[in-house]
């Protein structure tokens, strides 16, 4: 892992792009110094200071060896980003105390310092002003020695990190509870601890001209599809943006079908999930500063797969998966089907149901369609408010929401009771698969609209449109509906159901086409 190397490659890329149509960051490009470092310590310090001017956290500390007066040194770093102890104990103290006159036949003093004096595990020398400035910004310490046009970059960064906690968004009953954090290095450690294999590869790059966000592409080199990997690299290289704050930026920038409400790039905050996906031949993209690690390719079955499925008994897992799939389909269709039957096909209702529905509609002024749109909107408003509110205010929202969605609306004859019931059912079903929220909300409104103009035919027609849309989708060349359209062979083993582990001998097709065999079943295995 070499930050300077990746930094260098970034600058190399920038230089290339300067000649192209890159205008986003012309000012910062201009400020990039073509100057080389000089031999004079003061000149060098002034050079760095001038580049990082108007920044009061910049610390410039000069010191000198006790014995060799010529060894005037200086370290430059940003206050707060480095560990004081490391600087004091492993940079300043050794340089101050060691007897340089005695020990060193000073041909190249800097090299001698590097090899014999400075106590630090990560140390690189550099002549490039840009990379030196970059290192300071990233929290490294830069060491100058008078008389040398070369500086040492010393790793001493240390800042507050969030502890590894269980992700709020993906809870489970059984399974590992570690979650990714905002630190890329920590995340990589979490993954590496799960996949101890030399073929686990990491590729670093820096995206975002101002944020200079580290992005790491991880994969297992003998399983991953090279076409997908190359396509991913191409798409990442294409990104030319000033900043990446969260992996969501990248998720949207590299995805297929940008206008579809269905996800084509997955994410997880759990290292166990990402490790499992890597083992299936997928590629993970870790973005520094984001606990959500992206995985590609992402196909529709992954929406229904939960990590717990694989840790629990396969019977329960299959049942849960059935519940999730039917819940998602119902969440989308229930309001539309109800709408269609009640306003177009009353003859399809049993007489007692017709009578009670009719009774509940008496005196309600709005048409069913309108009241549905309003109630579903109110539900989404409440959901959004609840997600964004501080906990203390959230309580109030819940109470008001329950009233709005409950008794009061019926008593005031604004909507009929069944509409509220259907809205609530549909809303709860949506939350069962929160990952597909966007898709569910929009397809639900779409189907409801179709139902309100064409009845049950509209629902069927709308559903057909959605299915056609899904079957035309690809995620990095992999069909989006892969392995749900066929259940023969090994295709259906991990889609509608979760087959027992001993039968899942193959990895998913196409994604891991290069190396399909996941396990060979031992002869002594009893079944």
């Amino acid at each position: 892992m070499s930050i300077i190397n990746s930094g260098d490659s970034m600058f190399g890329k920038d230089k290339k792009k300067k000649s192209g149509n890159n205008n986003i960051d012309s000012e910062s490009n201009k400020s990039k110094q073509d100057k080389e470092l000089g031999k004079s310590l003061d000149d060098n310090i002034n050079l760095v200071k001038s580049i990082l001017s108007d920044d009061e956290t910049l610390v410039v500390r000069r010191f000198q060896n006790k014995f060799l007066k010529a060894a005037k040194c200086c370290i430059i770093y940003f206050d707060g980003m480095v560990n004081q102890l490391i600087i004091n104990e492993s940079i300043i103290k050794p340089v101050l105390d060691s007897n340089l006159t005695q020990d060193i036949s000073a041909n190249n003093l800097l090299e001698e310092l590097q090899f014999k004096v400075l106590v630090n595990n990560y140390l690189v020398s550099s002549r490039n002003v840009d990379s030196i400035v970059d290192a300071i910004i990233c929290g490294d310490v830069v060491f100058f020695l008078d008389g040398y046009d070369e500086a040492l970059v010393i790793r001493a960064n240390d800042w507050e990190k969030r502890a590894i906690t269980e992700p709020e968004s993906e809870r489970l009953m059984r399974g590992p509870r570690e979650g990714f954090t905002e630190s890329l290095e920590t995340n990589l450690v979490l993954l590496r601890r799960r996949i101890k294999c030399p073929l686990f590869k990491t590729e670093f790059r820096v995206i975002g001209q101002r944020t200079r966000t580290k992005v790491c592409v991880c994969y297992i080199s003998d399983i991953v599809s090279l076409n997908i990997l190359n396509e991913l690299r191409r798409r990442l290289d294409d990104i030319n943006i000033d900043g990446i704050i969260d992996s969501g930026y990248i998720q949207e920038l590299i995805r297929d079908e940008p206008f579809s409400p269905f996800c084509t790039v997955g994410y997880s905050e759990r290292p166990d999930v990402v490790a499992a996906k890597l083992l299936e031949g997928r590629i993970a993209i870790i973005v520094d500063g984001s606990p959500a690690v992206l995985t590609v390719p992402y196909i529709i079955v992954e929406n229904a797969q939960a990590n717990e499925d694989y840790y629990n008994n396969y019977i329960l897992a299959s049942f849960n998966r059935f519940i999730r799939t039917t819940a998602t389909i119902s969440a989308v269709t229930i309001p539309a089907v109800y709408m269609a039957i009640v306003t177009y096909h009353q003859e399809m209702l049993p007489t007692p149901v017709l009578l009670s529905l009719s009774a509940s509609r008496q005196g309600v002024p709005f048409p069913t369609a309108l009241s549905f749109f309003i109630m579903l909107l109110i539900f989404d408003i409440l959901r959004e408010a609840g997600a964004r509110m501080p906990l203390s205010i959230g309580q109030a929202i819940n109470i008001v929401g329950a009233l709005v969605l409950g008794e009061a609306a019926i008593n005031a004859k604004l909507v009929s009771a069944p509409v509220i019931v259907i809205t609530a059912v549909s809303g709860i079903l949506t939350l069962l698969n929160a990952r597909m929220l966007t898709a569910i909300i929009f397809t639900r409104f779409f189907l409801l609209f179709m139902a309100s103009i064409l009845g049950i035919y509209g629902v069927i027609f709308g559903f057909l449109i959605i299915v056609l849309h899904l079957s035309s989708m690809r995620s990095f060349g992999v069909p989006y509906l892969l392995s749900i359209t066929r259940i023969t062979d090994h295709d259906g083993q991990d889609s509608w159901i979760r087959a027992p582990w001993w039968t899942m001998t193959l990895r998913p097709k196409i994604i891991a086409a290069r190396n399909l065999v996941r396990q060979t079943v031992g002869k002594n295995r009893r079944r």
């Binding site: 009353q346 509609r361 008496q362 005196g363 069913t368």
Partner: protein, 383 residues
């Protein structure tokens, strides 16, 4: 680009054609329809028909109230009368949930096809509407009856007819069956009979007995006992009660029918035509009203023979009655002949009325007594 436009056009066309190809559909709010529960058809005073509809009216809110309204309309045709409801209540009548059609005897005597046509032709009305004949002068007075189990009389009538198979006192025929029978060779339909009875000062409806038709015209009625016998011949008995007024082995015994199967078999001699009727009944002793032992071997045999003879006698008498009084083949003998002896049927088809009048029947009833319910012996009461 051209391809794109073509796809868009194609999609538009497909979605447009859906509007026209989807058959009957219409946007209407559920509270804006007048749900017709049942209808009675009488002869009109000024126009041909007087159609009386029982319409369900709902009072919503926290407490749901189910009320009915009776509306009578005149018209020269069924549809004319029915559609004119808009002039009275402003809502269109909604027929998909109508359950019963009650016709007056006058209408039934003139022929029911005129009435039925609309029910089977219209898109809303269903063919599984039950058809009833009013025993009273008009059909609409049936709606004066007070329902017991449901707030809506027509819904109660539907339940009464639906469960009739466990009783066997009236045929439960809906319009589709009525039409089916009419359209078979030599078939004559029947219909249940409805009347109003005064029970404890309350007007209650009663469905008992059979209206006998010749083709689609009413010719007479059968009482409840004859109706059960008729259902035996038609193989329509699914359950019910057989009671004999005579003592058997010293007890009055009531049987509950569990299973009944009837087979018709035409017997053709050189000159005469006869119909063999094999009835197999599985029944259980359900009530014993005296101390005579009917459960023991002897008693059981006596009981069995008694009921076999009883049913044989009832069948013979009923067929004779229908032959002489109404001369209409309501039992489905003709269709049996048509199926089993198509050549013979061709010959006698023209003179079937005569043939039916002279048709001999031979009845073989077999009663199998399977148990005596929960008690193994009659009650022995010491004097």
């Amino acid at each position: 680009m051209v391809k794109k436009i073509r796809t868009v056009m194609l999609l538009l066309l497909i979605s447009l054609s859906m509007l026209f190809l989807s058959g009957c559909w219409n946007y209407r709010e559920i509270d804006e329809i007048a749900i017709v529960a049942g209808v009675a058809v009488d002869k009109g005073i000024n126009k041909n028909y007087l159609v009386t509809m029982e319409i369900v009216e709902l009072r919503g809110g926290t407490e749901t109230q189910l009320l009915t309204k009776i509306i009578s309309l005149e018209g020269n045709s069924m549809f004319e009368a029915i559609r004119s409801i808009i002039s009275y209540i402003g809502k269109k009548a909604y027929w998909s949930h109508a359950k019963v059609v009650i016709v007056s005897q006058d209408i039934a005597k003139e022929g029911l096809v005129k009435i039925i046509d609309w029910f089977s032709r219209d898109t809303e009305a269903r063919e599984n509407i039950y058809l009833l004949v009013s025993k009273h002068e008009t059909a609409k007075e049936i709606f004066e009856g007070k329902p017991v189990t449901s707030e809506v009389l027509s819904f109660q009538l539907e339940k009464m007819l639906h469960n009739q198979r466990n009783l066997g006192k009236a045929p439960a025929e809906d319009i589709r069956q009525f039409i089916n029978v009419l359209s078979t060779e030599g078939g004559n339909p029947v219909a249940p009979v409805i009347s109003i009875k005064d029970i404890n000062g309350q007007k209650r409806v009663e469905i008992i007995g059979t209206a006998v038709f010749r083709s689609d015209r009413l010719v007479g009625f059968l009482d409840e006992l004859d109706t059960q016998t008729m259902l035996f011949i038609q193989n329509e008995v699914k359950g019910g009660v057989i009671y004999s007024e005579e003592k058997v082995a010293g007890s009055y015994v009531t049987l509950e029918i569990f299973k009944s199967k009837t087979k018709l078999k035409p017997i053709i001699d050189e000159n005469s035509l006869a119909m063999e009727i094999d009835i197999e009944i599985e029944a259980a002793i359900n009530e014993i009203n005296d101390i005579g032992d009917v459960i023991g071997e002897d008693g059981r045999t006596q009981l069995k023979h008694h009921y076999e003879n009883l049913i044989n006698k009832r069948v013979t008498e009923l067929v004779e009655k229908v032959q002489t009084q109404y001369n209409t083949d309501i039992f489905g003998f003709a269709i049996k002949l048509y199926r089993n002896e198509p050549r013979l049927w061709k010959e006698i088809r023209g003179s079937w009325k005569e043939e039916f009048r002279n048709l001999k029947v031979k009845t073989n009833t077999k009663v199998k007594i399977i148990n005596s319910a929960q008690l193994a012996k009659p009650f022995e009461v010491e004097e």
